[in-house]
């Protein structure tokens, strides 16, 4: 760090702290404040504004966290899911930090000479150089590649840091998974507090992922007081609350934000959109297909997780079969057909967005043609090997788009009155630190001007 950076770092710029709770619904946070499960959050919330927030569409962590860190829509930052297809190909790839086309919040802060500590934000793997330190979150594989600068690895190893919960433990037992969730949380909190206390920073970003993992597998426990894991679920959140309290105790005059990247709700059914496309003749697959890589000739459309629909357009895909002149008609047919999927005598589709309604920017070519948003309870999936349109698996929770959490340590009167969006967070943080919001961000600061 140059001397100028050091001087700037100590200047009047206000520091900011963002704590992420992956997948914690706003409604659940409110409920836990009211029923006493999260007393520290209650205290924190009384000193600022706790708001319900919209997240990205698709509402999954890779897209949502990338939208958070860049303040941009996927049309700009280029991440539409946990997996995507390579250009002009059906070959799957897993987007990583190198595929993100927009600047991150900490790039902007670093350019202004401000130092960031960024821990466990999903979609930051492999760790890229920054002014500060970064430990990548999901889906980080190798701690060495997940850590910048590399000198930090030894310390993380000495502290038995764990990158993630091993969700496969559920195959062993729910007890084993719950133990893993609690242990991973404990180790994560230890590292978060250690780096909070012992690193110099202007911006601190720390994310808890265990909330999401818990809810994928135990979401049914929260509504059912007789459920075996009901009290364990609440106790877990009381531990998270304790961590929030530990952060709050350490604050001097920093701006504090707490956020989640999406909400959660119990699953009634998983819905396999590729099954629907197959049944209605839009999709053809090779025998024993395992993924969309096994698409067969003559397909007109396919789906990727969670509700992304792509028209198999000539020129865009190697075996594209839809002429440009037929694109609109096929799109309308599929929209109509999907909107009629129903369960319990009601449509499971809340809304179907066309590409241009959601996305804009240089990465628009890779965008899905449609994004299907379901009603609560019906989790849209891209699996290709399902015999039925709907079924249930081991998962009991699914993401929601309109029930994310955002807390800002400022009086509501100082904030905009409209519902925040996840892309507003980066501009809000930069604004709170006295930095200008760069043009490449779609979101806007929540602080009222003047």
């Amino acid at each position: 760090m140059g001397l100028l950076d050091k001087l700037k770092s100590k200047a009047s710029k206000k520091r900011a702290v963002l704590i992420g709770l992956d997948g914690t619904p706003y409604t659940l946070a409110r409920r836990f404040i009211e029923d006493g499960t999260m007393p520290r959050l209650a205290e924190i919330a009384s000193r600022g504004a706790l708001l319900q927030m919209d997240t990205s569409i698709p509402d999954i962590s890779s897209v949502a966290w990338t939208s958070f860190m860049t303040g941009a829509n996927p049309g700009r930052h280029g991440v539409y899911g946990f997996l995507d297809l390579q250009p002009n190909s059906y070959k799957i790839y897993f987007p990583n930090s190198r595929h993100i086309k927009s600047e991150t919040l900490w790039d902007v802060a670093g350019r202004a000479g401000l130092r960031s500590v960024v821990i466990n934000v999903p979609s930051t793997y492999p760790a890229q150089a920054l002014n500060g330190i970064l430990i990548s979150g999901f889906v980080a594989v190798d701690l060495n590649k997940a850590t910048y600068p590399p000198e930090l690895v030894a310390r993380l190893q000495a502290m038995d840091y764990r990158i993630d919960v091993d969700a496969r433990k559920v195959k062993e037992s729910h007890d084993a998974l719950m133990d893993d969730v609690l242990e991973t949380l404990k180790r994560r909190v230890a590292v978060l507090l250690d780096l909070f206390d012992n690193q110099q920073w202007d911006l601190f970003v720390g994310v808890i992922t265990e909330t999401d993992r818990l809810q994928h597998f135990f979401m049914d426990a929260i509504e059912d007081t007789a459920h075996k894991y009901h009290s364990a679920f609440r106790e877990f959140y009381t531990r998270v609350d304790g961590f929030l309290g530990q952060i709050a105790e350490r604050l001097r005059d920093e701006t504090l934000l707490i956020m989640s990247d999406h909400g959660f709700t119990p699953i009634k059914q998983q819905v396999y959109l590729n099954r629907w496309l197959l049944d209605h003749g839009y999709l053809k697959l090779k025998e024993n297909a395992r993924s969309i890589e096994d698409i067969a000739d003559g397909s007109q459309a396919f789906a990727l997780d969670p509700g992304r629909i792509y028209i198999n357009l000539k020129g865009r895909y190697p075996n594209g079969s839809v002429e440009h002149s037929d694109f609109r008609q096929i799109l309308d047919e599929i929209k109509q057909g999907l909107s009629e999927i129903s369960a319990d005598r009601a449509s499971i589709v809340k809304r179907i967005y066309e590409r241009d309604e959601l996305f804009a920017g240089p990465c628009l070519d890779a965008a899905p043609d449609l994004c299907v948003q379901s009603v609560y309870g019906y989790d849209l999936k891209g699996a290709v090997n399902k015999e039925q349109l709907m079924d249930r698996e081991v998962f009991t929770g699914m993401h929601t788009q309109d029930d994310s959490t955002l807390f800002i340590s400022a009086p509501a009167a100082a904030l905009r009155a409209d519902k925040p969006h996840i892309t507003d967070i980066a501009p809000t943080l930069l604004d709170s630190m006295g930095l200008a919001v760069p043009q490449g961000m779609d979101g806007h600061s929540m602080f009222k001007r003047g």
Binding site: F82, F94, R111, F138, D166, A167, R168, D305, E393
Partner: protein
């Protein structure tokens, strides 16, 4: 990320290693596909600044000229590398403010070491009084207070210094890290398994 222009400005005493480092960095950045131009003080004094001497006024004029060209290059998204003693802080700051995207590298080496090394034989002549206005001997050198990078060429090899400069440029996101490694094949299998564990694949 498309290349953004910036100026990498090496300052330091004669013989400290500015040109050596500028050329190493030039080679490495070009190998990464960047457009780079080096403005070397010794060469500039034979053309752009021909006729200028070593008074403070002439030295400042020389630096302003180099800064002027660096600014033209920078605003056209070229990486401009200047290697010049540039002994006066005020004019270096003037150039920094003019260009904006400016990274200062202080090439530090104790004068005793330089006089001992004396690659060009200049220190011997200056100390003998044959060369007047020689920076560090009978002319001042004002060390930077705000350099983005300080390299100590008496303690580091040129390769080590160059690596530190490149790392700092990466850190400032002015250039992208050298090897774009994402997931290896083994990693991909692990990623797939983890995503399966959460129902995403």
């Amino acid at each position: 990320m498309a290349q953004r222009g910036f100026t990498l400005w090496f300052t330091g005493l004669s013989g400290a290693g500015k040109t050596t480092l500028a050329r190493i960095i030039e080679t490495k950045l070009k190998a990464r596909g960047h457009k780079v131009e080096v403005l070397d003080g010794d060469i500039i004094r034979t053309n752009l600044s021909k006729g200028l001497g070593f008074s403070k006024d002439d030295r400042d004029t020389n630096i302003r000229r180099i800064g002027f060209v660096c600014n033209l290059l920078t605003r056209n998204d070229v990486i401009a590398i200047a290697a010049a003693i540039s002994p006066y802080r005020e004019v270096r700051e003037e150039v920094r403010n003019h260009i904006g995207s400016f990274v200062e590298v202080f090439v530090s080496c104790p004068i005793e070491v330089l006089a001992e090394r004396d690659v060009k034989g200049l220190y011997k002549r200056a100390l003998a009084g044959e060369l007047k206005n020689f920076t560090g001997v009978d002319d001042p050198y004002e060390e930077p207070l705000t350099a983005e990078v300080v390299v100590q060429t008496d303690r580091e090899t040129p390769e080590e210094s160059a690596a530190r400069i490149l790392a700092r440029l990466e850190e400032m996101r002015l250039i992208v890290a050298a090897e774009p490694e994402g997931y290896s094949e083994e990693d991909e299998e692990e990623v797939r398994r983890r995503l399966e564990g959460l129902g995403y694949v």
